[in-house]
Symmetry: C2
Subunit: 188 residues, 2 copies
């Protein structure tokens, strides 16, 4: 079985190679620059090889997004784990969310903006995505009324701030003032 295992391993390595290339190219030049031809060139394989790993370009982006969910969940977890004042936790989690979006704008785009096949709020939802949402719920503190809805509205506000700023529809200046407003409104 060792030959089959080696093949499997090599395939997995190439899978990672594709994802890394897609991520780097997207971060450098945006998702429009991520064409199947350029991607194939970057990994020194021909174009159709991509289709033996992924159904298509959308599938590649979904895979990049899934890894993004893991990173986001980890970042948020770090903030809820540090138990300080409840107000601080909310603020730090929001800040971490915004920070993630700022540091990985194109991955955020794949996760939350571009059309996606990934199922949200269902049984097929990736674990990491559920975990990230759970951190938002936790950050709002216990004993809230309708915690799911509350967290969804908070998430909407955070997401709105991110995308409107990224697309230049909200000024780059004043980000901290807006965060203050948000925390004040959603804090106890």
């Amino acid at each position: 079985m060792s030959i089959a295992e080696r093949r499997e391993r090599q395939r997995a390595e190439r899978y990672d190679l594709i994802l890394a290339a897609a991520r780097e190219l997207a971060e450098a030049e945006g998702w429009d620059a991520v064409t199947t031809r350029r991607l194939a060139g970057l990994i020194d394989y021909s174009q159709p090889v991509l289709y033996s790993h992924f159904k298509g370009k959308a599938d590649i982006m979904a895979a990049v997004a899934t890894r993004g969910f893991e990173e986001l969940a980890a970042r948020l977890r770090m903030e809820t784990a540090n138990v300080t004042g409840a107000r601080d936790v909310l603020r730090n989690v929001c800040d971490a969310y915004l920070g993630f979006a700022r540091s990985r704008p194109v991955i955020y785009e794949a996760m939350f903006v571009l059309p996606t096949k990934i199922k949200f709020a269902s049984e097929e939802t990736p674990t990491a995505l559920r975990a990230a949402f759970a951190e938002l719920v936790a950050a709002l503190g216990p004993d809230r009324q309708e915690p799911e809805f509350l967290a969804e509205v908070l998430w909407s506000a955070l997401h709105g701030l991110v995308v409107l700023a990224q697309s230049g529809r909200i000024p780059a200046t004043g980000a901290e003032a807006r965060l203050n407003v948000l925390v004040q409104k959603f804090g106890r």
Copy 2:
């Protein structure tokens, strides 16, 4: 000068024809279906005619979006004009915003989601867009601290609710409950 005027008028009519066709096609099948060839076919002209009116597809979408700003501003104005309780005004304006997004999803997309050349929060910002934002500020009531930032955060929350729902990332059910949460948090 009457011949030149007639030509001018005919050009303007064709301009409107293109915009109407783009809008209808987008509403029926989405922006991806709005190709320059299909658009040309719908108005019974050849493809390059489009480029005598617009710089390109993005320019056409921007024009559709601009008309959308006018409609949105008008809808919001109707709610702030009806002076009832301050809490009701905020609620009604938010509801009107969400209603606009629901009734004209693809126009909303061109206005607030897709990459755009339209300048926001600057001197070149279309009048209707400024007006719409001013309605949001007004809905929050007078004598607020940092009314601009507050309105921007409210707008972000509304926008987040819209796009996350439209892309299936937030469940379709519970929209009213989320609106309740939002109004409760941002009301006095």
